[in-house]
């Protein structure tokens, strides 16, 4: 094999983690940002040196939730909005496993909103990667809890009259011990955030801002995938710089980086203390 003598390419790392038996292509539209998140995730796992057997990927329903199916880990593709309670069962039953939830804005914040805040509150050692494209992609472009006010979708044809959620603020307020935001333009920073999130012993949220040019972009005249990803670059402000900016200056900006951490105790660890104290000898 001539490839054996070549230096290791980034794509080689990628292919090492794809499921050998899964028939590609994937379900995502050409130019979708979810693949970039998947790439960042794989590099983070590779960098952390985790074995494939100790990683469990859990997802709900939606475009982002198809992600675990393609990867060669233990994968649990669940019902809409319920990835976090399924993941809670896996993690609490087997605290030695690394449990990572892949979810979207509709999955995590609408139908799964209650589970989301309670997973944060427990501070159970799960990393949630929330791919936020501000719309329901799989069902054809309906408004989601992160669709901005006045934005168009197939269920807000006259502009959205609702307010939107900020997932990172919600997670921090609910008790998550690590919260970061990234975008699919900032793939390297995203990989770093995912790495830190997995290393954090507690509930971690990484919000990955992504593009749905097929629906959000088309309905809101944001251009194609490339134009949308370019806009993430233009709007992004690193958290350190954001601290020196006024509220007006931060209008429409995307603050990226590590936003929030706490030293809160972790749920499974605390329960283990209960077992240690009460287990019959």
């Amino acid at each position: 094999m001539t490839t054996a003598t070549k230096p290791k390419q980034k794509s080689d790392v990628f292919h090492q983690y794809l499921r050998p038996k899964k028939k590609f292509p994937n379900v995502w539209c050409p130019g979708c940002g979810i693949g970039i998140v998947m790439g960042a995730f794989i590099r983070a796992i590779d960098k952390l040196g985790l074995s494939k057997d100790e990683v469990v990927l859990v997802s709900g329903i939606g475009c982002s939730s198809r992600f675990p199916v393609y990867l060669d880990f233990n994968s649990l593709h669940t019902t809409h909005g319920r990835a976090l309670p399924f993941a809670t069962g896996v993690k609490f039953s087997r605290p030695d496993l690394k449990v990572i939830v892949i979810t979207g804005d509709g999955d995590a914040l609408a139908i799964g909103g209650n589970h989301f805040i309670h997973a944060c509150r427990r501070n159970i050692d799960i990393t949630a990667i929330l791919i936020n494209n501000h719309i329901y992609g799989m069902t054809g472009g309906q408004g989601s809890p992160t669709t901005p006010s006045e934005a168009f979708s197939t269920t807000t044809p006259y502009g959205n009259v609702e307010k939107h959620f900020e997932p990172c603020d919600l997670a921090a307020a609910a008790g998550a011990s690590y919260v970061a935001r990234g975008t699919v333009y900032h793939a390297v920073q995203l990989e770093k955030a995912i790495t830190q999130a997995i290393e954090n012993r507690g509930f971690s949220l990484v919000e990955a801002i992504s593009n749905c040019h097929t629906y959000f972009g088309r309905l809101n005249r944001k251009g194609d995938g490339l134009a949308m990803i370019q806009s993430f670059k233009d709007r992004a402000v690193p958290v350190a710089r954001a601290g020196k900016m006024s509220e007006e200056e931060l209008e429409d900006k995307l603050v990226i980086g590590k936003l929030h951490t706490t030293g809160a105790t972790e749920f499974c660890d605390e329960y283990q203390k209960v077992i240690d104290a009460h287990k019959e000898k």
């Binding site: 038996k21 028939k23 199916v69 896996v90 609490f92 039953s93 209650n114």
Partner: protein, 378 residues
């Protein structure tokens, strides 16, 4: 709790002790009357045996958590009542599709909706069969006494683990909240069945393999098999499929893995049926009413017998047909507006009279009411 001892237990507590005996090491639940003591006793007992208890944010989360824990290798249960079971049905469907062993206890109360939280009912009988959408075959069992609840919960775990399927235990408020002396079984007194583990290498492993008995070995996450579990209709490797030639294979498997072994799942308790002319068919707490009424009727010289359905689903069609062959009249007693009598009608020939005794005013059926019914149909 030490094995072999006798304890005064509530029905709900008896259920938990049965589960612990069967090897339950994970429980997720949400408070709801009249099942809450199942969660409370689990929260107290599980850490003592190194197990895990979690109170989830709702019943949707509870069933999701136990499915996750089961796939991670634990023997699992949740306990709830009608409104909670209604919230769980989506993910009970997921457990059917993903072939995950879970035990779901429904301590029935009056419905629909919030209904009668503190009152007895058997009106979730059909829900236990047809709760989730789609085609699948359900197993549901109905204990009739506090002691029965312990041993039948063990049986529920054995069925769930053996057939890789959800099993519903239909208790009702009367059994759940009654107290009785219960013997905690000795170790080894009852057979405990655990899911079949994978023996093939990870490379050869096929997650939903069509084995001769249709039960695919089920390794836990973390054991090196790294398979995909999905609620989407999937092929034998666990990957989503839309192929017309693969879909029926999966759906037939969900039916046949149970119906091919229906004789081993069916369980009836039969009293005075040898020469009976009238059969009383019942299940759950009503079976006690039926037995007492039949005993009194027998003393008065009437040929009355009792058939108790310990397994409700799959419905024991063959057995009911055979047992009632020489009866001219059948009475079906239940605490609802007639959920099992229709199943009886499907299997009983037209030349027999089928009578109903139904109560859905939140009270139990009394032996006196059953005797009055017997008098009426004689």
């Amino acid at each position: 709790m030490s094995n072999g001892t006798r304890k005064l237990l509530q029905g709900n507590a008896s259920c938990v002790h049965g589960a612990l005996y069967a090897g339950m090491r994970f429980f997720a639940g949400y408070p709801i009357t009249p099942s809450t003591e199942i969660a409370e006793v689990s929260s107290r007992e599980l850490p003592r045996v190194g197990g895990k208890f979690i109170q989830m944010e709702d019943e949707i989360g509870s069933i999701a958590a136990i499915i996750g824990a089961s796939i991670a290798g634990s023997k699992v249960m949740t306990g709830t009542s009608g409104p909670g079971y209604s919230l769980m049905v989506e993910n009970i469907g997921y457990a059917y599709m993903s072939e995950t062993p879970v035990v779901v206890v429904n301590v029935q109360r009056g419905g629909p909706s919030t209904g009668l939280p503190t009152k007895v009912s058997q009106s979730d009988t059909q829900q236990a069969r047809w709760g989730p959408h789609g085609d699948y075959t359900a197993i549901a069992i109905a204990p009739s006494t506090v002691e029965d609840t312990l041993t039948e919960t063990i049986r529920a775990f054995n069925l769930a683990e053996r057939f890789r399927t959800p099993v519903t235990v239909l208790l009702d408020e009367v059994i759940g909240h009654s107290r009785a002396m219960v013997k905690i079984p000795e170790e080894g007194e009852y057979e405990i069945i655990n899911r079949v583990k994978a023996t093939s290498s990870p490379e050869e492993f096929e997650a939903f393999e069509m084995t001769p008995n249709l039960i695919s070995p089920m390794p836990a996450y973390g054991e090196g098999y790294r398979y995909n579990v999905s609620g989407l209709t999937h092929d034998t490797h666990g990957f989503p499929t839309n192929r017309a030639d693969e879909i029926p294979i999966k759906l037939n498997k969900l039916r046949d893995k149970i119906m091919n072994y229906v004789d081993e799942i069916t369980k009836l308790r039969v009293e005075f049926m040898d020469d009976a002319d009238i059969a009383i068919i019942s299940y759950g707490s009503v079976s006690r009413t039926a037995l007492q009424a039949a005993s009194i009727a027998r003393q008065a010289g009437f040929k009355v017998g009792c058939i108790q359905l310990c397994t409700i689903w799959p419905f024991p069609e063959k057995e009911i047909k055979a047992l009632c062959e020489n009866c001219s009249k059948i009475i079906v007693g239940e605490l609802n507006m007639g959920q099992i009598v229709e199943e009886v009608r499907k299997v009983i020939s037209d030349d027999k009279e089928i009578h109903t005794l139904q109560r859905y005013d939140s009270e139990i059926l009394t032996p006196m009411q059953m005797l009055e019914k017997l008098e009426e149909v004689l």
